[in-house]
């Protein structure tokens, strides 16, 4: 055990050299991953990584709101949609360059986040859940019915130009999406270690005490919504390009629930947990979507789905598996993967006792 010599060691990004070394390893993996994947000829793996990184951004942002500030949101698919449509429309209708369009769309989402934060000043728990749920559904309805948004047909993402370079294909997009996710995750972690993050947790644990200690509840609650919406909006903007095509049905209630389950599975109030939770559930999401290709189980499930479940078919299993995972996590490991990680760490630290 090494001794701490300054207060900075308490708050710095990498709490020790070991952590920093691990970060370097992780960064090395991230850098070499797309090369390895394209060398193997598995372009799909790069798409998977992009998809995961986008979900990491959402989960980290949502965790700031749900895990740290203790508010609930069932409407984050709405912010995701605002970010996606905002970026695409700014670029196609107003010819705004991508580097500006993405943050602007994020800010637009943040603006809506602020507005949604206003009822949160009065509402708690289930009431807030219903209010945010309404918001998410409204956004889907509006973008699905307005011609500007392409209606039910959706929109195609324009070519993505970063200055003179045009990014096309999963390999190129990887270098945009993954670094963005890394930077935004670090920023979120820093926020949680400083004044704003502490105010969020204070509001969650005891809003009365926070208020009498000088925390402006109105400001910080709406700020939590705005920051969270900004993260989700930026992720939505990136998603439009990762997919190349957006349609209103994508941003439905199930997506909001998927986001929320990433945060819960990862562990509420843990940035690290959100990253792992998002990666795990994204992977699961992609794998379950192709469950029918499994050698034996696939056809059985397909048969089962066709004869017993609704016409939406295989996604049914996706939802059932999600439900099951959420249920097991809540019952056996309420702190999520983060809680499991902490217990493992303590176990090895105190081994063999």
């Amino acid at each position: 055990m090494d001794m701490k010599r300054s207060h900075y060691e308490d708050i710095r990004l990498f709490s020790s050299r070991v952590v920093f070394a691990w970060f370097l390893v992780f960064a090395g993996v991230l850098v070499s991953y797309p090369f390895a994947a394209s060398w193997l000829g598995k372009n799909y793996y790069i798409y998977m990584a992009n998809y995961m990184a986008i979900n990491v951004i959402v989960a980290v942002g949502l965790n700031l709101l749900v895990g740290y500030a203790g508010q609930i949101s069932l409407g984050h698919a709405g912010f995701f949609g605002i970010g996606a449509y905002g970026t695409v429309l700014l670029m196609t209708k107003l010819q705004v360059p991508f580097v500006l369009a993405l943050p602007l769309a994020g800010l637009a989402a943040a603006g809506f986040g602020f507005l949604l934060g206003l009822p949160a000043l009065r509402l708690e728990g289930p009431y807030l859940a219903v209010a945010t749920l309404g918001f998410g559904l409204t956004v889907t309805q509006i973008i699905g019915r307005w011609d500007l948004f392409g209606g039910r047909q959706g929109l195609h993402a324009p070519p993505l130009a970063l200055g003179p370079v045009t990014l096309a294909g999963d390999f190129n997009l990887y270098w945009l999406i993954v670094p963005t996710a890394v930077v935004m995750t670090m920023a979120a972690r820093n926020i949680t270690k400083t004044k704003v993050g502490r105010a969020f947790v204070a509001i969650r644990d005891s809003d009365v005490a926070a208020h009498t200690m000088g925390v402006n509840l109105t400001y910080y609650k709406t700020l939590a919504f705005a920051v969270s919406a900004f993260y989700t909006g930026v992720a939505g903007g990136l998603y439009a390009f990762a997919l190349g095509f957006i349609e209103p049905q994508t941003f439905n209630l199930m997506l909001s629930i998927l986001f929320l389950s990433m945060v819960v599975v990862g562990g509420l109030g843990s940035i690290f947990g959100s990253v792992v939770g998002a990666m795990l559930l994204s992977l699961l999401n992609l794998k379950l979507a192709s469950v029918h290709t499994l050698p034996f189980l696939g056809p059985v499930l397909l048969q089962l789905s066709e004869s017993w479940f609704t016409v939406s078919g295989l996604p049914n299993f996706q939802y059932i598996v999600y439900g099951l995972i959420m249920f097991l996590i809540i019952v056996f490991e309420p702190l999520g993967i983060f809680g499991f990680w902490i217990r493992t760490k303590i176990y090895w630290k105190s081994y063999p006792f």
Partner: protein, 261 residues
């Protein structure tokens, strides 16, 4: 003009008059106490002062400024901090973070400067470190070193009370409202608390107003005592005057109406 005063404060919840025409004066740099049987309206009075409740009638004046219409965070910014009867700590934060939250009004880090905490000389890091130094002094003062990095929900109740006191001190208040500071403390801790309260008054120059049921502590350290019963002020004065006040004795021990029957 008094340092702090309430004038004719009244508040009722439904038909219950929790406070009726309560006027108190607190002198700068004094220790005053509010006592009274359970349900007398003591905590309600604190809630009015710190802005959690809004009094229906009357005024609250702090340093010549009316504060009864301000929200709690503005009242805190003027220099009024408080503790709670049943401990309102941020349970999932460490002692350090709880005290750092007490420095909220002194920290200048915003969202963006906080997000860019990447080296020890960044603005947010310097801001944090400077305030951590101040918190460290409070930890030393209250002898909380052992609890420094513990989550407060794992601490014994007496220690939690100390952490809460520390958090209030971190706000650098001019007026400190203490709601039953020694509830749940053992005799030794009570002795310590008494010494700390004296130090807080004399060294930090903080005015203390406390609610307390422990009469030995109240009588020993407070200069003035106000007695509430059923939301009304029934007596005020020095500890000696209060101990011999017939109305106070009646409120605490019951009247002699049984003898008449």
């Amino acid at each position: 003009m008094a340092f702090f005063s309430t004038e004719g404060l009244s508040i009722s919840f439904g038909g219950l008059k929790a406070l009726a025409d309560v006027s108190i004066d607190v002198q700068r740099n004094s220790i005053s106490a509010i006592i009274g049987p359970n349900g007398a309206g003591k905590t309600t009075l604190f809630n009015c002062i710190s802005g959690i409740y809004r009094a229906q009638q009357g005024r609250i004046i702090f340093k010549d400024k009316e504060i009864h219409r301000l929200p709690p965070h503005k009242i805190a910014a003027l220099g009024i901090a408080r503790t709670y009867q049943n401990v309102e700590l941020f349970a999932h934060m460490t002692t350090m973070d709880n005290l750092m939250l007490g420095r909220h009004l002194f920290l200048k880090t915003g969202l963006l400067s906080g997000a860019t905490l990447f080296h020890s000389r960044s603005r947010s890091a310097r801001d944090e470190i400077a305030n951590r130094d101040r918190v460290e002094q409070i930890i030393d003062f209250l002898e909380l070193q052992a609890a420094r990095n513990e989550f407060v929900s794992n601490l014994p109740f007496g220690t939690q009370k100390k952490v809460e006191l520390g958090r209030a001190l971190a706000l650098e208040p001019e007026l400190l409202l203490l709601d039953e500071p020694c509830a749940g403390m053992n005799v030794e801790e009570k002795q310590d608390l008494m010494i700390w309260l004296k130090d807080i008054q004399e060294e930090f120059g903080i005015t203390c107003l406390l609610i307390e049921h422990d009469m030995s502590l109240v009588m020993e350290i407070s200069e003035r005592i106000t007695v509430l019963n059923y939301g009304r002020k029934i007596a005020e004065g020095t500890p000696d005057q209060i101990q011999n006040d017939p109305q106070v004795l009646e409120a605490y021990l019951g009247g002699d109406d049984r003898a008449e029957n």
